[in-house]
């Protein structure tokens, strides 16, 4: 008796050609050069401690296994350390593949709340890590301006960042509620 089930069999219907094309169209032609040697996975610090398998991810992106790729939490275990890409004997731009897959995942709604919160901080303050009272005091104590000369000090500059996030639709992507300045309830 075979251990294979229909579910585990891949056939042409499982493949989403548009998903593969998205990588090629984005200039990541090198996804096609991968010969699955596994140098990437062997080099990956995240793969040593999580289910993240970068060699498999590259293969799935090339095959067009869109749903498997974008619904997998492991996609977000990459720290973008580039060790895989540096060592790849086929010069595949692996980190670009990871980021492209994440872009497609995010646009399909796969976004973690803490990441959406970082987006929210940038829309509200211009900074992913905004100033706090302790640091204001520290800055003043060492003779720096209490607020750094960034969007923190220049409200019109913050407005520009907000206009950009609106123009690209980033505010809608992360579910930003302009009325409350918070994330819309999920």
């Amino acid at each position: 008796m075979t251990l294979l089930t229909d579910k585990e069999l891949l056939n042409m219907d499982s493949l989403d050609k548009d998903f593969t094309a998205a990588f090629i169209d984005a200039g990541i032609e090198s996804v096609q050069h991968c010969f699955q040697c596994g140098t990437c996975s062997g080099s990956c610090p995240s793969g040593r401690r999580t289910p993240y398998k970068v060699r498999q991810l590259v293969r799935k992106c090339l095959l067009g296994l869109k749903d498997e790729v974008i619904s997998d939490d492991a996609l977000w275990m990459c720290t973008t350390c580039y060790t895989c890409q540096e060592r790849c004997p086929r010069s595949v731009v692996i980190v670009d593949i990871v980021k492209k897959a994440r872009n497609i995942a995010a646009h399909a709604g796969y976004m973690a709340k803490p990441h959406r919160m970082t987006g929210l901080f940038v829309i509200n303050t211009g900074h992913g890590v905004p100033i706090n009272p302790v640091t204001k005091e520290l800055r003043a104590r060492v003779g720096l301006s209490e607020l750094p000369p960034t969007t923190h000090m220049f409200p019109e500059a913050l407005k520009e960042v907000q206009t950009i996030c609106k123009a690209t639709g980033f505010d809608e992507l992360i579910g930003y509620d302009e009325e409350t300045g918070e994330l819309k309830p999920e």
Binding site: G128, T150, I164
Partner: protein, 302 residues
């Protein structure tokens, strides 16, 4: 020499001693740091780069146009900001279609990316523009500590695009910059490994991040170092705040003080723990600073 000084987020909004040390160091080196008024987050590559390339490139390009308007190359001392800004700058310089797409967004705020400046890392400027000889001349109090150099990932990689070192397997730039201060850069296992914070992982899954950090701390401790020296405020935060988190999670007792390279130069220039805001770090830096001072006094009296 003048340079547009890109602050970012974590340095200026959490570890202002790094900014303070940098301003004093560059004063001593006769390099004018010009503030980039109204600059924002680079933006954070782990979230913005992962969620939406167009938004990431547009916010990065807006920051780049501030330096372009100043007519100056841009300097950052954060690997994350460096990676984001360098990658966006290269992408928009090399790809006319992308440039047009992003400039359409920027036109909404009356800006245009032209591609007239370069993005440089703090450590790169110290090596290539200042030079080791001049750097050595500003060291007043050699820092006699054994330290673990932590390069971080986006300082050198991807090496083909960044070009600071030809390979990231066995680089020397940070070790050389450390040793000019009198400190010794000690080899340790898996020195080039990531701190665990990048790519949005720290906010996505802190347990995975801390397991990276713990491994690095074990390897550093096994080498018997007095301190960690980094060139990235995010790695800096990960080794400072993250070290405390590792201790709480694993019941360990790591206490390796964390210096940004600018702070190490601050110590070498005789700045106090207070000026470097090192007394505000979670991991107490005073034992390392006391050791450095004692060694200095010992050598001075010999």
């Amino acid at each position: 020499m003048e340079i547009a000084y890109f602050l970012g987020c974590i340095m200026n909004n959490r570890y202002p001693g790094v900014e303070k040390a940098t301003r004093i160091l560059f004063d001593a080196l006769d390099i004018k740091l010009k503030d980039m008024e109204g600059a924002s987050c680079c933006p954070a590559p782990g979230v913005f780069g992962s969620f939406d390339e167009k938004t990431w490139a547009s916010i990065a390009a807006r920051n780049l146009t501030i330096a372009e308007d100043m007519g100056l190359d841009l300097m950052t001392e954060c690997n994350g900001c460096f990676g984001s800004l360098l990658e966006a700058n290269n992408m928009l310089k090399d790809n006319p279609e992308k440039k047009e797409e992003i400039n359409e967004v920027l036109s909404e705020v009356g800006r245009e990316f032209k591609g007239t400046i370069d993005v440089k890392h703090f450590a790169q400027i110290l090596r290539d523009d200042v030079g080791y000889e001049k750097l050595a001349s500003i060291v007043e109090k050699p820092v006699n500590l054994n330290v673990a150099a932590h390069y971080g990932c986006h300082f050198l990689k991807p090496t083909k695009e960044v070009g600071i070192e030809s390979s990231a397997e066995d680089p020397t730039i940070l070790d050389e910059l450390i040793e000019i201060t009198g400190a010794k850069s000690v080899p340790y296992k898996d020195k080039m490994m990531c701190c665990g914070a990048g790519g949005g992982l720290r906010s996505r899954d802190i347990d995975v991040t801390l397991s990276f950090t713990k491994e690095k701390l074990e390897n550093m401790q096994a080498a018997g170092v007095d301190a960690i020296v980094n060139v990235c405020p995010f790695c800096h935060l990960q080794f400072d705040v993250g070290q405390d988190e590792v201790n709480k999670k694993y019941g360990t007792d790591f206490h390796i003080p964390v210096f940004h390279l600018a702070q190490l130069y601050g110590v070498a220039m005789g700045l106090s723990e207070d000026e470097l805001t090192m007394n505000n770090h979670l991991i107490d830096a005073s034992p390392a600073l006391a050791k450095a001072l004692a060694e200095y006094d010992k050598l001075a009296t010999e």
